[in-house]
């Protein structure tokens, strides 16, 4: 039916498609629907996350030692997924920021706010595991290498973003400010990715995602990808749970505001009742 319309009136068809897309977005945007949907999905998602994480941990534990690095190479299975996610979460937040600024999607700023602490935690874990890995490899916990430094800057930006969220009391005003900052910060992501090629100093160059296929051995690649999937699932689970909390927190806040407003108007009405007869007399 849509196809026939398209043949006759292409413009109307475009509008129709836009309308349908808008409908689905609006369906998703209803916080009550989101809450009931996530209430059903979350336990299953958590279970799948736990299973994949268990498989990934088992595979990483049984992976062979590296001929050069020994058992410390296993830190990679935790470190690399964290580092990937630290960038992915900023990407998710940038999409949410577009959703806030362009489409005014009501759940976009909830997602952005909920994602920021999770992303900061992943970045922090990437830094900590990296520094624990660096100790036996380089003999120092910290090295001012280009890649490490740009991850540290990413961490600082996460903290600044969280501070911005906390600095403004009204969530919707904070959302727009944070969205602008998030999009500006997205410029940092490609710098991190390509900094390895720009300043190839101490940190080893990217070995999984590069042209000409991965150089990592299969014995390491499979557990690594499994752990990456587990951490991504973990991120989705945590994000949905945090979004639920944020929605409930905002409802609580608006209920408290309504209560305070009702109380103050009651007080106003009471004082008017007292003053009006006085004025009339």
């Amino acid at each position: 039916m849509i196809k026939r319309n398209c043949n006759l009136e292409p413009i109307a068809c475009e509008a129709n498609r836009d309308y349908q897309e808008a409908m689905t977005l609006i369906d998703l945007a209803n916080p009550s629907k989101f809450l009931s949907l996530t209430a059903r999905v979350l336990p299953w998602l958590a279970a799948v996350t736990a299973i994949v994480l268990a498989i990934g941990l088992y595979q990483s534990a049984t992976a062979p030692d590296d001929y050069q690095q020994g058992a410390t190479v296993k830190i990679m299975f935790v470190h690399v997924p964290n580092a990937w996610l630290s960038m992915l979460v900023w990407g998710v937040m940038s999409l949410a920021a577009l959703g806030t600024l362009v489409w005014r999607h009501p759940l976009a700023d909830v997602a952005a706010k909920a994602a920021a602490p999770i992303g900061a935690a992943f970045t922090f874990l990437a830094l900590v595991t990296g520094s624990l890995w660096g100790r036996p490899m380089w003999g120092t916990y910290w090295e001012w290498d280009a890649r490490l430094t740009s991850v540290l800057i990413l961490f600082l930006m996460y903290l600044g973003l969280i501070a911005l969220w906390r600095a403004v009391e009204d969530p919707s005003r904070a959302a727009r400010a944070a969205a602008v900052l998030t999009l500006v910060g997205a410029i940092n992501l490609p710098i991190i990715k390509f900094s390895v090629d720009w300043w190839n100093t101490l940190h080893q160059p990217a070995s999984v995602m590069r042209l000409g296929g991965p150089t990592l051995d299969r014995a390491f690649l499979v557990p690594l990808l499994m752990m990456a999937a587990a951490f991504s699932l973990l991120f989705v689970t945590l994000l949905l749970a945090a979004m639920r909390n944020e929605i409930l927190r905002r409802r609580l806040r608006s209920l408290q505001m309504m209560q305070a407003r009702a109380f103050s108007s009651e007080v106003d009405a009471g004082s008017r009742e007292k003053t009006v007869p006085f004025g009339a007399a």
């Binding site: 120092t140 090295e143 290498d145 430094t149 600082l156 903290l159 501070a163 600095a167 403004v168 009391e169």
Partner: protein, 221 residues
């Protein structure tokens, strides 16, 4: 005494809640320290040598940054007038406010020092020396900075004026703080500069509240 405890509780609660700026000071400290290697280069040996100075400068700037909230927010919502008019001596109230401010904004800086020491490749002994001198010196920064904050709030000017007023006053603390930590690192006599640092802090405990109370009393109409 209960009035002082209540004031401390109130100030700390405001500082750590939404809109308060206590933890932003730590974030600023971290950022300043991270910026330094970009300026001097990623040479770890050089950073180790400069480490105590970098940490001290960062802590000085971070504690300065949060100072303008010490009286400004209270002035805006009118609670400063209540504090001035209350039965508690204004000097005591000022000292209490400065103490609360130091607990909310100064102590986190000292807690963050070991992490930043790691970034600057300082060993445990040097980090401990810097943290100890910061613990002895940052109260002095807050108490002398309070004078500038009181002047700035009576003149309705914050920010840069405050920095220009307070930074020269904090030079002695900077000198003896860095001297004491360098002495502890290189094994020279730690006692003399550290004693002078403590003495500077003690003097500021006495002078700061009186000067701040005087400028508040004469400045506020």
């Amino acid at each position: 005494m209960t009035a002082q405890a209540a004031l401390i509780r109130r100030d700390i609660r405001i500082a750590v809640r939404v809109g308060g700026g206590a933890l932003i000071g730590v974030l600023f400290f971290l950022t300043v320290v991270v910026l330094m290697p970009f300026a001097v280069g990623p040479d770890l040996a050089l950073l180790t040598r400069l480490g105590p100075a970098i940490l001290w400068l960062g802590a000085l700037l971070a504690s300065l940054l949060t100072l303008d909230r010490l009286f400004m927010a209270d002035h805006e919502d009118g609670s400063l007038d209540l504090i001035v008019m209350s039965r508690t001596p204004l000097e005591l109230a000022c000292a209490t406010k400065a103490l609360a401010h130091w607990m909310a904004a100064g102590l986190p800086l000292i807690v963050a020092t070991p992490v930043l020491g790691l970034l600057l490749n300082l060993d445990t002994r040097s980090t401990a020396a810097v943290a100890l001198t910061l613990l002895a010196g940052t109260p002095s920064l807050t108490f002398t900075g309070m004078i500038g904050a009181a002047l700035a709030v009576t003149l309705h000017r914050g920010g840069l004026l405050l920095a220009v007023l307070v930074l020269p006053l904090s030079i002695p603390v900077l000198i003896f703080g860095v001297a004491a930590s360098q002495a502890a690192i290189s094994g020279l006599s730690f006692g003399a500069p550290f004693s002078i640092l403590c003495a500077l802090s003690l003097v500021s405990f006495v002078v700061g509240p009186f000067a701040a109370a005087a400028s508040l009393r004469h400045g506020l109409d």
